[in-house]
Symmetry: C2
């Protein structure tokens, strides 16, 4: 087992109506003024916006607002947020939405305590040493951003979709009311399921050291995500399945699955970031296309783990059942598994591979994933 | 799924030689003087004591010492610690040892910030509102005390073995160097394995709401504990198995397994505390006796979960395989499964049941576990 540090100080408040306590949670941290950050739609459903405002007022918490965070969130919006924070003595960021809003909230939290350009953190030119506290109320679960220190943001003009990771931007409190997620579309539920599965399998298949316990946890997460997704596609109002989906999704990327492993890489995310950067496809949809292609290319590099995956998840006997099983399941839940399914033609592969090979450099995997290798993988999609 | 709050701010530092950084970890919290608390033996092995002292000195951390914490730790020792802390401007407790040392460190941490008698917390006469920070260096893994806010202490004269639970006494940093655990005896390794399994199954079998994900996590923990225990009994120097055992043991009681469940009770711990209080048997040995007896008494109250357990853990078909499988495995690893194996005669049952029924009252389970019921359970042991 590899040495590790595990530290996840985020408090999760899961349950019906808990968003009504958000003012109190914030106030317990001594914060008096927040930037309320949200996206383009979900906060206006079910009177959520009104309930948040009312909770903040009840706890005497002042706020400024910034809306319009889009999926595949943009650096320009982050910069806008940083400016508002710096000009208004804001002490914390409250993100209400899904992963994109929370990722943006974290970038704003770090950028607000930094004199330079927040993008410096994403290109490893500077390290985060301080950040404002982040709070969240979630309306979509998949990214696990509500319980980790990761943030992925895209620089508008260059289409570079890069990430930061620091426990300093872990949310202090994340509120998860599964009822708020009941109107997530079937497409987005499917994409979310793919995203969670992708978080789990990246390290599972690529780590040179991977204890059995970690494999068991990953398999538990995947089985529960598949089970609850199938329930929710038939019965979107099933509260228990929605709650279990939300909590299990968090386990996929809150730091538990890679503990003690060695050398895991994130090739599917690396390649997908370029797909969604260039074509603005939903992250989970892009992953559903990249994963089977990558698995076909990679399978011979870790035969035992593919065989294990096939057996544990799909009751399969050969290692190819791992790929076939996952591909079939993605299709079953309505996620695309080919570039064609995303309306991306063969001609686009070159540009995607060029963009992804830049990410490979920033992430330090350019030896494993050259532009030619990425083209080879994408041709299988 | 039941509403829940999950919050576990303990940082885990797992790896070879990490005890050499303990001074630095403490110093990062701004602490300048600690109470160094330890037991009766393990700290003097491998020069651990010298390394801890040297690390503290290197970080300019002053310390007072208190040794002699025994397994089934005593309130008198806790009171001794509180007195030293209050008289010496001590700012944190550093416990070096196993669960008993850490449990005592937590009680001292809470008692040092309280004007009354620390026992008030254990009998629910007062609530912990403040505590000194706790740090740990572990020499034995089982109780998961290194990553939770629980403490079990026994009042010397009355043999009441009660507990507290507060996130305020969660260790700030816990250091786990699996190498320090390599000389744990085979008996204590077996008892530790039983303890971890017991933490997992208490809620697994007794909760009225128990999501599938939680069942999967519990089964993952138990499988990994059984696997690594069997490796270590044959090959005590197997570092990877030792490390995996240590980390998995923590998952058994760090708050993850009961999230979203409803109504779990801890009957085996409740009864065992009386066994070890009255006969000073090791906690894990007592549990190995109580668990099969309790299961035989309880089985009909949750048939589906017993059937599931039998299938998942022992590849068994009937629910009785759950009990038989566990009993056989306890015997295989050398843990006793009868009162006779602990040298406790049938005549002792009455007194044990009387003591345990008092605990049932304090824990609020006296309707489920009357003295008569506890006698009925113990007669099966």
């Amino acid at each position: 087992m590899n040495d590790f540090t595990y530290y996840n100080p985020t408090k999760i408040e899961l349950g019906r109506g808990k968003e009504n306590n958000i003012g109190e949670y914030i106030s317990q941290s001594g914060v008096k003024k927040v930037l309320l950050l949200y996206g383009v739609g979900s906060i206006k459903k079910f009177g959520l916006y009104e309930r948040i405002i009312s909770s903040l007022k009840k706890s005497n918490i002042e706020f400024e607002e910034l809306s319009g965070v889009v999926s595949n969130p943009l650096l320009s919006k982050v910069n806008e947020g940083v400016e508002i924070v710096k000009g208004n003595n804001i002490e914390a960021i409250l993100g209400v939405g899904g992963g994109s809003v929370v990722d943006s909230a974290k970038a704003i939290a770090a950028g607000s305590k930094y004199d330079g350009d927040v993008w410096d953190f994403f290109i490893h030119k500077a390290e985060i040493t301080e950040a404002l506290p982040v709070f969240t109320v979630m309306t979509l679960s998949a990214a696990a951003s509500e319980m980790n220190g990761n943030s992925v943001v895209m620089k508008d003009e260059t289409k570079q979709k890069y990430s930061i990771a620091s426990v300093l931007v872990n949310p202090v409190v994340s509120v998860i009311n599964p009822e708020l997620m009941a109107t997530v579309s079937k497409e987005y539920l499917a994409y979310s399921a793919v995203d969670v599965i992708s978080h789990c399998i990246e390290v599972y298949f690529t780590a040179s050291v991977h204890p059995n316990f970690n494999s068991r946890i990953v398999e538990s997460i995947i089985k529960s995500i598949m089970e609850t997704t199938e329930i929710l596609l038939k019965d979107p109002d099933n509260y228990d399945a929605r709650a279990e989906f939300a909590w299990v999704a968090i386990q996929g990327l809150n730091g538990l699955t890679p503990t003690g492993t060695k050398g895991g890489t994130f090739p599917n995310h690396m390649i997908e970031h370029s797909l969604s950067a260039l074509y603005n496809v939903p992250h989970g949809a892009g992953l559903a296309v990249v994963i089977p292609a990558w698995m076909k290319w990679y399978i011979k590099q870790n035969k035992p783990q593919f065989k294990r995956f096939a057996r544990e998840i799909f009751d399969g006997e050969s290692m190819n059942d791992a790929i076939e099983g996952l591909e079939n399941w993605f299709n079953k839940i309505g996620a695309p598994t080919t570039l064609k399914g995303l309306n991306i033609s063969r001609d686009g592969i070159e540009e995607i591979a060029e963009n992804a090979s830049q990410t490979a450099k920033v992430w330090g995997f350019s030896e494993l994933y050259s532009k030619e290798t990425i083209i080879e993988i994408l041709q299988k999609a």
